[in-house]
Every structure is written in C-alpha cells, then in structure tokens.
C-alpha cells in the first residue's frame, strides 16, 4: 500500500535531497557539551563548553579557574577535535584521572568522571 508523504521538509534543503530525507526531518538545535562540577571548591556548578581549546587550572591564565591548591596553575587542557573533546594533562602535579585511571589524555564520552586534585567533574556529551 502506498504511503502518502507529508511535505514538511525545510525549504533550504536542496531539491536533490528531497527524496532522500524522511518527511519528518528537521534540523534540531544543538546542545552543548558540558562539564558538571560535583566536588571541590565552587561545586556544584555546570560549565558549558563552546571553545575549541580551553585551559583548566588555578592560575590567571586558565579559562576555567578552580580555586584549589590541589589543582595546578595550568592543570589540563580541553581540545575540541571533530566535535569531540579531549582532555590532556599539562604536566600537572596531581594528574588527571578518568574514571579512576590516571591518563595523559583521553577523548571524553558521556558520563565520564574526571578528577583533577580534589575537583571532580562529570562530562555530559551534547548533541
């Protein structure tokens, strides 16, 4: 039985794409990746991630500043590559722990727990 399709496709979609997309297709607004701080000074709080690169640390050069002696001045950096964030340890004193494992760097996934000194974050992946 033939199914009647409703034409709700956005006008901006090229004509050549029309027959390839489901009738219900609409671009959804993107939700930003997020670091949710669950322990340490300043917690609880949420940090939306929008920059391609940012430094987490205690010092004035940090983009995400944490007022804790357990956190180095430039403790770690977050880099966005292909819309995925990677955390990298910047030779910090207390290291970066991913779900309890000390790592030099890691591509982050939804629900990952990061510990930098006494500061704990949960990474919430956007869409």
């Amino acid at each position: 039985m033939a199914v009647k399709r409703t034409q709700t496709i956005d006008e901006e979609v090229p004509q050549t794409m029309m027959n390839r997309l489901p009738a219900s297709f609409k671009p959804r607004p993107r939700r930003a990746h997020q670091l949710e701080q669950t322990a340490g000074p300043g917690s609880p709080c949420k940090h939306e991630l929008s920059a391609d690169a940012l430094i987490i640390g205690r010092g004035s050069a940090a983009d995400l500043r944490i007022d804790s002696d357990d956190v180095s001045r430039t403790h770690a950096q977050l880099l966005r590559i292909d819309d995925e964030y990677t955390i990298e340890d910047l030779d910090s004193r207390n290291g970066v722990f991913l779900n309890g494992l000390q790592v030099h760097a890691a591509v982050l996934r939804d629900g990952d727990q990061l510990q930098l000194g006494d500061v704990v974050f949960t990474y919430n992946e956007g869409s």
């Binding site: 991913l98 494992l101 030099h104 760097a105 890691a106 591509v107």
Partner: protein, 295 residues
C-alpha cells in the same frame, strides 16, 4: 624523555561500531607508542585509519618516520592498512618489522591485490621498508623492541618495548589457558592462582604496563577453546606472576557491550585484589593515552 601509549583499536575479531560499544570503541587492534622523536605502531587493525588521520594533521616537514610491528597477519590486525593515509604520502618512511622472510610484509601487501582493493601496494607513495629482527630484538628509533612467540592458531608475536627505564608489553592473540602448568586448575579451584610457565612470564617481568588479550570471561571461554584467545582472569594471574604494575585488558569480544566490558574489568580487578596483588587493572579504551615515564 616521554613514553606515551595510545589505544586506537581495542576490539577483537571484527569492527563493532554502534551505541553498545561507543565508550570502549569498536575498532580492531591498533596501539601507538611514542617518545618525543619516535612513533611505533603495533598492529594495523581498523584503528590504524584514525591514527593516520591524526598523524596527518600536523606532519613534520621532513615527513613521517613510522615503525610498524604486526602481532600476526589475521584480518583484524591488518585490515586498516589500505586506509592508512600516511602510506599514500611521498615523504613517509614506514618500516615494517618481521622475521627474516618477513611474511607479515608479504601478507600486508597481499591484501591489496586488486581482487580485494582498488589501489595496489606497489602504487603507495610512501617508502615502505621491510626490516628483520635479529635474535628477536631490534632498535627502532630510541626504543628497543623484543619479540616473543605466543600460542595462537597460525602463531602470533608479543612485544616487549623498552625506553628510558620503562617497559610496556603488547601481548595480544595468545591463548594462555592452553599453556597452564595445571590445565585442570581453573576447573578444580577457580580462585587459585593459575600458574604459567617461566618462558611465558619472563618477557612481561616487571613491566610498567601489560596490554593483553583478554577477550573472554571465565564463563564464555569453555565454548571458545582453541580459538586463540585468553580469558581475563588468566591474564590477571599472568600479570601477577610477572610483577606487572598496570594491566590493560584488550581485544574485547565483539559480542561484549560497554557494560559487558565494565563487568569483565570489575571481575578481573576483584580477582587481583582477592589474590592480594597490587595490580591496577583497567579496560583498554579507544582514545586514551597513558604516560609511562611519570614515575
């Protein structure tokens, strides 16, 4: 100095993409070890493609100088090679290590015959050089790599990699349970340490990191005897006997979801604790880099 280890592919047998495997990853075997001046690659499974993409983001002006070691030429350890971008660059030098006959080099090129792939091996632009181990040892840049035989259908090689006082062992596709001193031990006394012969333990002795095939759980293994892979609990026992500091379980079974791998790692960690060993056990995961020279 710097001794970095990155996981690019940790799945066994066949690529397993999808939401069930997103956290640990679905690419087949590929591990990168690097210092400040040398890049070593262990196995050319599908994880190799993304390593290639990464290497080509910021290539050095003088070109890439890469060293490739293959545990064995089964498909899940070579199938990323035709998609390895640096192999198509004129100023890349890729040294492929093997035995004197270097069967690995031949088989790597064989998979690019035109029945399987549109680009022939001879048409790759990189300078690809076979190099043989001498007495199971070779110097690759500022690393020393030692090779040892493992139990696997068709054979496989493990590698002990040394640099600046640190050691990492890559030992995949090895059916440890066929080499137990007491083959009936696990059935008779599952909680007792499963002893392995000294020649198997020696290459892993006091390694900072052992990356080992731990495809199966104790429950899965009886249906897979002879398939060439280890069960996680036996790998834990090997690591304990060798005095290893950290153990990365890898070559995850394609049927195992992220949650299944979590459970496998948890069981293995509990086994190490119950035996009283100070062994840090974790599941190898794509995109994670460890630094071994932190002390």
């Amino acid at each position: 100095m710097g001794f970095f280890v990155r996981f690019w592919g940790v799945r066994g047998s066949i690529p397993t993409p999808g939401p069930r495997t997103r956290r640990y990853g679905g690419n087949t075997s590929c591990i990168e070890m690097r210092s400040d001046s040398t890049v070593l690659i262990f196995d050319a499974g599908t994880g190799l493609r993304e390593l290639g993409v990464s290497l080509m983001r910021n290539p050095p002006k003088e070109g890439l100088d890469l060293h490739l070691f293959l545990s064995h030429p089964h498909w899940d350890h070579i199938q990323g090679f035709p998609f390895f971008g640096p192999a198509y660059l004129k100023n890349t030098t890729l040294t492929v290590y093997g035995s004197e006959k270097n069967e690995n080099y031949q088989l790597l090129s064989g998979q690019m015959s035109n029945a399987y792939f549109p680009v022939a091996f001879k048409d790759l632009s990189a300078r690809i050089v076979p190099k043989a181990f001498v007495d199971d040892e070779v110097q690759a840049g500022d690393f020393v790599v030692k090779r040892f035989e493992q139990k696997h259908p068709g054979g496989s090689a493990g590698f002990r990699v040394e640099h600046g006082g640190n050691a990492c062992v890559y030992a995949t596709d090895s059916e440890l349970d066929l080499m137990l001193i007491d083959p009936n031990g696990p059935a008779k006394a599952p909680r007792t340490l499963r002893r392995l012969p000294t020649p198997l333990v020696t290459p892993m002795k006091n390694a900072d990191l052992l990356i080992a095939d731990a495809q199966y759980t104790d429950e899965e293994y009886p249906a897979k005897v002879g398939w060439g892979h280890a069960r996680a609990n036996t790998v834990v026992d090997l690591a304990i006997q060798a005095g290893v500091k950290q153990l990365a379980l890898t070559h995850h079974d394609p049927m195992q979801s992220d949650r299944d791998v979590d459970a496998k790692v948890l069981t293995a960690s509990e086994r190490a604790r119950s035996i009283g060993a100070e062994l840090d056990v974790f599941g190898a995961r794509e995109g994670v880099t460890l630094r071994l020279d932190r002390g």
